[in-house]
Symmetry: D2
Subunit: 304 residues, 4 copies
């Protein structure tokens, strides 16, 4: 449910406008130095400070992580790392209208049906605010991966039908002025992954990556290698003798082949629009999803 | 690794040209009548008998299931259901060349690197023959779902860039004559799923579906709802008041919203081409993937 | 590692003298009213207030639970319930000697060997203080079980070789005066459990109960039914026609038979003795283990 | 349910008088040579050939293992190892009376209540015949452990109240003549286990051992270290400076301390008595449990 991984096990908790969000990360080896600055940077990217087309929770406000256990003198103990981020701008009165209103394209309706009760304040558990906890956990995983010379890099490669990154800012500003929203595609590249990572049949590397990406709020599609591109025939994609094969996207038979692993995540347009609702709203959630894609990729790789 | 699900737990086994493939399915309730004819029909579809562009393992040969346990007088006992399918046409001599040859776009290289040993006969464990065991298990799950009025239907909706089903046969025959292969997209629709299926955060319905689909041999992409289509803005997709929302693909916040769940799976062209290798080869693996997509969808839904 | 259960999943965290201990409980159904008074009472029993032969952490001090998520207006939301208990009397200077000293019969040595680092303050993660988090989680589970008319009751039935409960107080006071410690046996009875609970083979009811009890600090033995008593023959224990059978302890073939389930847990004498170390020390850890046995029994039953 | 372990995952199947029993073992590394003779020897011990007080399934008959997958030229492939043992003497007519009769102290009643259906022939899934599959899987695990210089040895240390092994044969023969049955205690010793094996809190080494032992048919109790012996005080058991501590039974804080791990399993008297039922019946199931205790110990250690 709210649990991820069986090596570095992560249990996330918290409602958007409850007392706090946070998580517990179990299975982290002892003796690891945690780079707190890197976590802070990733949290800032996720909160969308200064980025075009995003809706930072509150201007000049930072998500501050309180570490409850598992770390002593800056080093991990090998015991569960518990942390929390207080919800400092919890102003439930702003969200009073959500108590009785189901927003289209949101989880309001399905949560109400499933649980018979919901924390209606700002999306509650279904709010993308929950991804801040993922960024904290994933950043620790990423630090460990970097020690193994495995690097992860995600970037925005498409906004609407626009694929030239130079035009993204202009397009996003235009959509923002319309009070509308637009979808985007994030591409993620993993370099340094040795050959042999992933398991056959049900635990293929791409299965774990897909499940993790599809768990990110607003992600509607995942592909790798040739993906949804149907334009080429087998003879073009798999030249005789090319082993490992470039068009395989870094994975063959569910197992990394030593080439960079490259995959894409499609994000829908935000469903809450400025033209309808007060406040600041995301124009393109793919922008703020970038550090979350990286964090979840790290969580997959550390667990496989 | 070779294990799927924690309610209906399925452990699959077997190499393509070893003694047998099969599986054990644990967690099936007692007292269920198994429809053996339906399983036989699905296995025939998977083996590609009579279909254009497929390479049935052997003409007029049928995969015969031997039931070892868990069933008495045609009824399930509530104990593990073990079954096997013998590999009757295991002719290792036809595959002698594979002992030292790595096929591009296949798992030969990655298996050898990962395990230091591999069953080189016909792809061994990485062969799509393994999906026959999935079809058996998934068909039992599907029978149980049908009792709950949940139906699953997959179909081929694209071959290469062709999206008109009427033209598929002609296109496939043409590619077959070229000795080449081509990709295809399978769309799957689940009807009758009640609202409330799926869990928030990491166990979203789409995460489980994506992981299962990406585990099918040759599947390179998964999407649902708006997916990779970036052509529409938020205001078009999420009309105020439309709850549940049509463009959500049947899932909101990771939870089914009561509308049909619709998703797509992109399959690559087969990497083993008739123009290069002797024998009959699949022109479009998406064709034979259809019953596997249905079987894995059933396995996801019975386990969530 | 620090995770228990796959239906009501509990992840426990915290070092004895770190900032806080606590846990996250995922899978609790929505709409449950939590009885906070009952939790407080169980925590008091665990802390050993006023009981003979125990060492309350600090006189007149109470473990106060801070609820972080998953509860709104006193009702569960169906989302993860995170809680913490601050370590208010964390006085690391009292434990300075433990930095370099391994206590016999404790985890100091094994933790140091396993992790290469340890929180030496008061036992750190291995301290029995961790069981307070279990009592919180288990009490919620127990409240749900009581709604289903399943009751759990544990009691001290043996101290040293003394089996008459009337003599326990005198014996414990005597051992306390000697500055020594003594073992004890806790018996737990589950009433109201319907027939059919437990799974065959590896997930037998007794397997889950045994694993949970053996995970409690200082527990060295588990038995049920005839247990370690070897005095009777089969003909005496299993009279023809007695179905279900009384001597089975409420479980037959791993499955509850509808009679009360009765099992015993053997606790070792405390390894830290007042005659050696300053401060107040437990004379008989079995006394404070009683609410922990009940809590873990509830966690097993809610998860099976 | 019928699944054990998450590293070496074992799924057991089969009814006592169905077509076959067997299992699938997933996660075994590639390149391991399997010693088939050792497996055969352990199966013979389990079947009780020539031992006093046991009821071999059929005189001079051997359980023959058929290997279906995962092994090529005697070496493991790293893929699932599936095997089966046919039930050659399946004579359902001998068990016709069990169709309507519930034996006291057996799973007949609880299975019928739980499943509403049962394979009544010779105990079906609840029969101890199932442990043959555990012996096969556990023996492979044990071979791998022996390569790491970890040895496992179980032995009968008590029959009824008799603790002198020299008297066991006479006692068992006497009980056999009475047509009765008697309980026994098996002690198991693990040598060569390095310090640091086991996890804190819920995955303590003793928790996993206890769960595995309690899953063996007829096992009613587990203890280690001081166990149920309440005769000694803390000052006697934990002498100052003795680190690691002898009375800890090889485990401190849930983690192996480098000394031999020693634990005991209490087995009840067989519930099916020769004085009541036709055929040959076990006088002391502890005798045949010895190789099963060893097998399950190996399965625990390979998975932790």
């Amino acid at each position: 449910m709210n649990l991820f991984g069986d090596k570095w096990t992560f249990l996330s908790f918290g409602e958007s406008h409850g007392r706090a969000i946070g998580g517990v990360l179990d299975g982290v080896p002892s003796g690891l130095d945690i780079d707190m600055d890197m976590i802070r940077t990733q949290l800032l990217l996720r909160s969308g400070q200064n980025a075009v087309g995003t809706s930072p929770r509150a201007k000049n406000e930072e998500d501050e992580v309180e570490w409850l256990s598992g770390v002593m003198d800056g080093k991990t103990l090998g015991t569960p790392i518990a942390f929390l981020i207080r919800n400092t701008d919890a102003r439930p009165e702003d969200y009073e209208w959500m108590r009785t209103h189901f927003r289209p394209g949101h989880a309001d309706y399905t949560y109400q049906q499933k649980y018979g009760i919901r924390d209606w304040r700002g999306g509650g558990r279904a709010s993308a605010r929950e991804t801040a906890a993922r960024v904290v956990a994933g950043s620790i995983a990423r630090q460990e991966l970097e020690k193994r010379h495995i690097s992860i890099h995600a970037e925005l490669v498409q906004v609407g039908n626009e694929t030239n990154p130079k035009n993204f800012d202009t397009l996003l500003k235009q959509i923002q002025q319309e009070g509308d929203s637009i979808g985007g595609i994030v591409r993620c590249t993993v370099e340094g992954l040795p050959v042999g990572v992933g398991e056959p049949v049900f635990d293929k590397l791409q299965s774990h990556l897909a499940a993790a990406m599809m768990s990110i709020n607003g992600c509607k599609g995942f592909d790798y290698g040739t993906g949804f591109d149907m334009s080429k025939k087998g003879s073009e994609l798999y030249p005789e003798g090319q082993v490992p094969c470039v068009s395989s996207g870094g994975i063959e038979g569910g197992i990394s082949n030593g080439l960079p692993v490259v995959f894409r995540c499609a994000f829908k347009p935000a469903a809450t629009l400025a033209q309808r609702y007060k406040g600041r709203h995301d124009v393109c959630i793919a922008v703020r999803a970038i550090p979350v894609v990286e964090a979840m990729t790290a969580m997959v790789l550390i667990n496989i």
